[in-house]
């Protein structure tokens, strides 16, 4: 092929001439259209026929930017017209598509001014379908190829194209919806601009009151959230460090089992930990009643409110910090500790002055992660919050509650976003530009320094009771599915499982009788489809960030990380607002769920990829490039194979996250695409705890087996070396939402 843009141009022509231009009502995967009146039926017609037969004349000019590049075929790449024409064709095509898409919708012109200008429009148009997507993609690549040809990024077509693609996708699926919802902070319920109302909401006592400090009145939501998040982050980091030290620096016998604990919170559906805590420590809980009977302590309700939420969150997130910290603690090079000891520092001094500072990035990451998770956590405050109001739940109730104040929800979302982003920047400041590199290519054979006795005891005291409690709680969860009325009538029953997962035989084969099958299949298939896309987009972005230098790289990075900081409820509502109407009409489909998961979990893939890729020496790429491979080939043949742990991490994490996410999903599920968590919420709302718990247990088991399965299938990367220290501990990497900073 003489020119690399030609296949993309052909794709564009296929989109314009052959594929159905508009969204198919029967769903993305349905192929009924092939036999049902295509190509002349206007539901299925391609753009060219839409334009000629249905008088959707505005589609016809799209042919021009598709014709223009044809003139380039006889030219060479060095011809100045080459880049200019491609840029013109791509840019004008994209812009025209967007303009016509937003200007004309299901009811003709979308803006009153257009009505006045051109008169009423009889035709209407629907969401973009196959044809439109192909055309758009084609224009995008034409544009980026043109830019590359004009010298952009050293003329690298693959890198320019990838950046263009990621920017476009993030623009459409993160910035566009989020800006819609933030915009609604400035308008009142009727849609008119209301800055005064905005200011009132933003500075209201509900959010910022500090009266709890001086009197019995309650404090503002923002302070509640902040206090909770800081306490959770602090405690989980401490506990996580204790766990990590027990595992790496002591002769503790059941290290493997401790590592297993790390997987638990990630595969735990929301609500379950809260429910289990109520049954243990609630007023009628087992533990509470025991203390009441034996020590005559009046059963109290301390669990409902900040202590309970904090307890549940520390329980849920400690394993995550453990996961982040264990890699870092392992990574601290024994030779530095040895050096310190050789210089006559004792073990305590060495730990405080050498090991701990080297763990700084890990501690900061663990803290930041727990902080963000705590702010965005929805399930625990929902179940245990009591009167203790936090931002994430208040956002939800501002939208669905009796107030129905979307503007207020948007204001709260802004506050939440501000907190997360400031934490993010503070962390970067604190880490600064110091070097924390400890894993080098140099051979080292030292053994880790053991803890001194005092610290050992402290770590055991912190970690072991906590581990035991975790085991008890998960035991309760598994057990809860088998009892009649959880917490009240504890007689054994299989009823909940048969209600949810009964299978029968009928005339047409297996009949999935249980009520839960529908949502379970949907959940599994949607999560399974989303996972590889998440991994792909995430790793591609990571590659661009680590290996390529370009202008606005920081902004680019920030944009790709943004969706991690946005609470699920906000994402959910913003997706409905943005994607219910053409040109991007996605509500009610399974695609919207997939897209939501891909872009919500992408930052994890990015972070994991960055962490892994920073450890791969750049000389590997350079060798590949010197040997004549282009950057696409290098990415595919050199980098990807070395990134196996990161790929597993991204795959597993996004799969599992998709299954357990709840707040974003509530608004996006539809009758044909119901997700397990939203189904479980319905059960919890109705007090059907038995079935809900049974369903959760099944989900936990499914996720566990998938994690093990993927680990076995993808395997470990083969590095021909025998070092005792692996570059990234593959055992732990599969689930780390590791916000590892570049260690350089």
């Amino acid at each position: 092929m003489k020119h690399s843009f030609i296949p993309w141009l052909i794709l564009g022509w296929i989109g314009f001439l052959l594929m159905p231009w508009y969204l198919l009502e029967d769903g993305f995967w349905s192929f009924i259209w092939l036999t049902d009146g295509y190509p002349t039926d206007m539901d299925y017609a391609p753009a060219i026929l839409q334009g000629m037969l249905a008088e959707r004349l505005w589609l016809l000019p799209l042919a021009l930017p598709l014709l223009l590049p044809l003139r380039l075929i006889p030219l060479t790449k060095n011809d100045p017209r080459y880049s200019r024409y491609l840029i013109i064709a791509g840019a004008s095509g994209l812009i025209y598509m967007l303009v016509q898409g937003f200007a004309i919708g299901v009811s003709g012109w979308q803006f009153v001014s257009l009505d006045l200008l051109f008169g009423e429009l009889e035709q209407q148009q629907y969401g973009m379908g196959y044809g439109a997507v192909l055309c758009g993609l084609s224009f995008l690549i034409l544009l980026t190829t043109g830019l590359a040809a004009s010298g952009f990024l050293k003329g690298d077509v693959f890198v320019t194209g990838s950046i263009g693609l990621v920017v476009t996708l993030v623009g459409i699926f993160v910035f566009f919806p989020v800006s819609q919802v933030l915009f609604s902070a400035f308008v009142d319920n009727d849609g008119s601009f209301a800055p005064v109302a905005f200011a009132n909401k933003l500075f209201s006592d509900n959010i910022w009151s500090v009266s709890c400090l001086s009197s019995g009145y309650s404090c503002g939501i923002a302070w509640n959230s902040l206090a909770l998040a800081i306490s959770t982050a602090f405690l989980t980091t401490l506990l996580g460090l204790a766990f990590a030290l027990v595992v790496t620096r002591t002769g503790f016998r059941w290290k493997k089992s401790l590592r297993l604990l790390t997987v638990l919170p990630i595969i735990t559906p929301p609500f379950v930990i809260g429910l289990a805590l109520i049954l243990l420590f609630g007023r009628s809980g087992v533990v509470t009643q025991f203390f009441a009977d034996v020590f005559n302590i009046e059963p109290g309700r301390w669990l409902y409110g900040m202590p309970g939420v904090l307890f549940a969150q520390v329980l849920s997130f400690t394993p995550i910090s453990f996961l982040v910290l264990i890699g870092v603690v392992e990574g601290v090079s024994p030779s530095m500790e040895e050096a310190s000891q050789t210089l006559h520092a004792n073990r305590w001094k060495t730990f405080v002055n050498v090991s701990l500072p080297l763990m700084r990035p890990g501690l900061a990451n663990a803290f930041l992660l727990a902080f963000i998770e705590s702010l965005a956590d929805f399930g625990n405050p929902m179940v245990l919050g009591g009167d203790f109001e936090v931002l994430s739940t208040e956002i939800f109730f501002a939208i669905v509650g009796a107030q129905n104040d979307q503007g207020y929800a948007a204001v709260l979302a802004m506050v939440l976003l501000a907190f997360t982003l400031s934490a993010f920047f503070l962390q970067r400041r604190w880490l600064g530009k110091k070097s924390y590199t400890t894993v080098t290519g140099k051979a080292e054979s030292g053994a880790y320094m053991g803890l001194n006795d005092g610290m050992k005891v402290a770590c055991y005291m912190a970690a072991l009771p906590w581990a035991a409690l975790t085991v008890v709680i998960y035991g309760m969860i598994m057990f809860g599915g088998f009892v009649q009325n959880w917490g009240y009538d504890n007689s054994f029953t299989l009823q909940h499982y048969t209600d949810a997962f009964a299978v029968g035989w009928g005339d047409f084969g297996v009949i999935w009788e249980g009520a839960a099958w529908d949502s379970l299949w949907t959940t599994l298939s949607i999560s399974a489809i989303a996972a590889p896309f998440t991994a792909l987009v995430g790793l591609l972005t990571a590659y661009l960030l680590v290996r390529q230098q370009f202008k606005w790289k920081d902004t680019f990075e920030f944009g790709t990380m943004l969706s991690f900081a946005i609470p699920g409820t906000v994402i959910g509502i913003s997706y409905i607002l943005a994607f219910n109407v053409p040109p991007f009409e996605l509500t009610g489909t399974g695609v919207i769920l997939i897209i939501c998961f891909v872009f919500r979990n992408m930052p994890v893939g990015v972070r994991g990829g960055i962490a892994a890729m920073s450890q791969l020496d750049k000389s590997l790429d350079e060798a590949s490039l010197t040997l004549g491979a282009n950057s696409l080939m290098t990415f595919r043949r050199v980098i990807l194979p070395l990134l196996r742990p990161a790929i597993i991490a991204a795959l597993v994490y996004s799969f599992v996250r998709a299954i357990t996410s709840v707040s974003a999903v509530i608004f996006l599920v539809s009758a044909d695409h119901n997700m397990a968590t939203s189904y479980i919420i319905g059960l919890v709302e109705n007090g059907e705890f038995g079935i809900a718990i049974a369903y959760c247990s099944v989900l936990i088991l499914v996720m566990l087996s998938v994690i093990i399965g993927i680990n076995l299938a993808v395997g470990q990367r083969r590095l021909r070396r025998t070092d005792s220290i692996s570059i990234t501990p593959t055992k732990t990497s599969f689930s780390a939402p590791s916000l590892k900073e570049k260690q350089a």
Partner: protein
């Protein structure tokens, strides 16, 4: 059940396409359902079996449903919204999210159901009613040696300190109904005085309206204020809970049904509307463990449901207390005067 009929339908459809005849499907209907899951799926299967219409049903709480209809206003995906407390249905009607339809069965309905239709300009109609009350955990009260409360004002007695639960009216429609009920029984200022006294006994304002009675069933609180049919449900499950219809009288909700404006399957939506108002269909509710009072006069009230003729029901002014103005005023006053009070 559902899967098998789906498989059957699929097979038939394949046969039909192969035989080059038009597909057998008799239309589609997208239903938003805001009652309990059991009742939703019962309605779905019955309607599908009777009409052959393929129903896609999703269950969401009434608040979530209303939020969805608002968000989808420009391009509705839902045809009919069935069930859920009446307030959001009235709000949707006021915003013209739903469309005018006078079901044929309208004259057969109880007055409160017809009234709901009238108030909304026939954009919604009542399908069931539930009275407000409170429930207590009999075991817990006995263990503490406390008498069973009988009236609203009993709940403010100091003996019940820290034992009463009710939802936050900002988040729960149930609790807003309670707030409006107190205002209508006592007058606004007295109602807020009552609420500030009650506040001392409240251990927690929950998010969801039915959470207080579930907490009472589990022994987490002694008394929960909510709808009586939710209490009956816990009783039927075997928890030691008793329902009380307060002596001063009480308010009620009218569970409603609205056809969405711009529905793509209008014909089927109307079929569903007529179907849902039929006495034999409303009588089925008991099968799904729903203990509300049906709106069709000839439907049988489920065993255990509160008998409306013996309840002291107030003349609940849905038009006034459902309006955005009154709502905002009462909620703001509650926020300012009650919520953050010290206990």
């Amino acid at each position: 059940m559902k899967k098998s009929s789906y498989l059957l339908g699929l097979t038939l459809a394949t046969v039909a396409t192969l035989g080059a005849t038009p597909a057998l499907a008799k239309g589609k209907l997208n239903v938003l359902c805001s009652t309990d899951t059991d009742w939703c799926s019962l309605m779905e299967t019955r309607f599908e079996a009777e009409t052959g219409v393929k129903v896609s049903l999703i269950r969401k709480s009434s608040g979530e449903s209303y939020a969805q209809l608002r968000a989808e206003r420009k391009n509705p995906k839902i045809d009919i919204w069935w069930g859920g407390t009446g307030d959001p249905h009235l709000q949707a009607a006021a915003e013209k999210l739903t469309q005018v339809y006078k079901p044929k069965a309208l004259p057969e309905l109880n007055d409160w159901a017809q009234n709901q239709a009238k108030v909304s300009g026939y954009r919604t109609v009542g399908i069931y009613a539930g009275a407000l009350g409170f429930g207590y955990n009999a075991d817990l009260l006995k263990a503490k040696g406390l008498p069973a409360p009988q009236c609203w004002k009993d709940l403010t007695k100091p003996i019940y300190k820290g034992e009463v639960q009710v939802a936050n009216p900002n988040s729960s429609g149930t609790s807003y109904t309670a707030l409006a009920t107190f205002v209508q029984i006592m007058g606004e200022d007295q109602a807020f005085e009552f609420l500030s006294n009650l506040h001392k006994n409240i251990n927690q304002y929950t998010k969801s309206g039915s959470a207080p009675i579930k907490a009472a069933a589990n022994g987490e609180t002694a008394i929960g204020i909510t709808f009586i049919h939710d209490i009956v449900k816990q009783v039927k499950k075997g928890y030691p809970v008793k329902a009380v219809a307060p002596c001063e009288g009480t308010g009620y909700e009218v569970g409603s049904m609205s056809i969405v404006k711009g529905a793509r399957h209008l014909k089927e939506a109307k079929m569903w509307a007529e179907f849902a108002l039929r006495p034999d269909i409303q009588t089925l509710a008991a099968e799904a463990k729903a203990y509300q009072v049906p709106s069709n006069k000839s439907a049988t009230t489920p065993d255990g449901a509160p008998d409306f003729s013996t309840l002291k029901l107030i003349d609940y002014n849905f038009a006034k207390y459902g309006s955005a103005e009154t709502r905002q005023h009462l909620l703001q006053r509650w926020d300012a005067e009650i919520k953050s009070l010290p206990r």
